[in-house]
Symmetry: C2
Subunit: 184 residues, 2 copies
DNA sequence: AATAAAGTGAACAGATTTGTCTACCTGCAA
DNA sequence: TTGCAGGTAGACAAATCTGTTCACTTTATT
């Protein structure tokens, strides 16, 4: 990947996270990255293409760090839960936490046929899939249901952390997950 | 309240829900409502003030319908859970569901000092408070924790329903809430 | 050293943004 | 009938938006 293109994607992702997608103009991305407008439109046909590239970059980031974290998990349900929600906890308490890029994007793009909307759904499925695979290495009954529940807890924790500034949202969700998995 | 002003607020709320806040221009709101620009700026000093009025309107709507629904609940924890999540279920499956206006707004406005951000937090507290009061009429131990958990489940269900089109998100969350409250 | 690829800077177009202002209209009440 | 409150229509300003184009420079490779 050309370095200028990658730099553009990373700058755009950072600005989109902080300010939102419509509110971040092309000119700001160019000024911040120091890239010229002609170069941007050589690599991307439109702003939407740049948004998609930024989301794809973020998708890969998330899947990568999640898989790395999970590679340290024991093959027990409890350990998977611990790793997933501690991972979230670190994110929520990192310097630059502006909520989930995909949840935020879905707030701005509602058209069900938009490539952005489609990619949001794809990303959420990717995350769920990684957790499901790890859970499958444990002896876990009713797996499909439990993964769905964990997914819901993750979304709830992200939103609670972002909209209400509740920095312990991941720990709250972790306790809920433990309770839910222990029983049933 | 002047009828034109109220009409403006309701049109704006509807468009903000569907298209987002930045993506909805003043001109579209005026064309849709049939109100003139001069009238808008007589009632509101800026677009931000109109956004705040629309959010306030939505806040009142939500608190009103939630309280009405809860007034039919028995004084048991189980009944409160049933009412809250069935209420959500109806919303998710209604014709015009575009996610939560406040979650969506927090995706577009990240400045912690913005009046919009402050109102988002206020709204979430209002909802929690209504549920907490109802829960207090039941004999419920560890109430503060349980309310927080229910709040997290609500957020999770809304996001799952909106971003993934999971129409049964509220029912999934309801089962989780039942399990969580039964134990502990 | 020559060539080709990649990037820059700036001007420009055309549409769209929020917000202001003026002139006019309409219905109601004293 | 006079006057006023509330609304309309539309022009206008100034900024900002995405996207295009062109002439020039830098960088890397051979």
């Amino acid at each position: 990947m050309q370095p200028r293109k990658q730099h553009l994607i990373e700058t755009a992702l950072s600005l989109f996270s902080e300010k939102g997608y419509h509110a971040t103009g092309i000119d700001l991305i160019l000024a911040t990255s120091g890239v010229s407008k002609a170069t941007l439109y050589k690599h991307f046909r439109s702003k939407e293409e740049l948004i998609l590239a930024a989301l794809k970059n973020r998708d890969q980031q998330i899947l990568g760090t999640l898989q790395t974290a999970l590679s340290n998990a024991d093959k027990t349900q409890l350990s998977v839960i611990e790793v997933v929600f501690d991972h979230l906890h670190n994110w929520f308490n990192s310097e630059a936490f502006f909520g989930c890029n995909f949840i935020n994007a879905s707030a701005e793009y509602n058209d069900p046929n938009s490539p952005i909307t489609l990619y949001i759904i794809e990303h959420k499925q990717n995350v769920i899939k990684v957790i499901a695979e790890q859970l499958a290495t444990t002896n876990c009954d009713d797996q499909a249901n439990k993964v769905q529940q964990i997914g819901l807890l993750i979304e709830g924790a992200i939103v609670m952390a972002h909209t209400q500034g509740e920095k312990n949202a991941a720990l709250i969700a972790k306790e809920m997950a433990k309770t839910l998995l222990k029983i049933k």
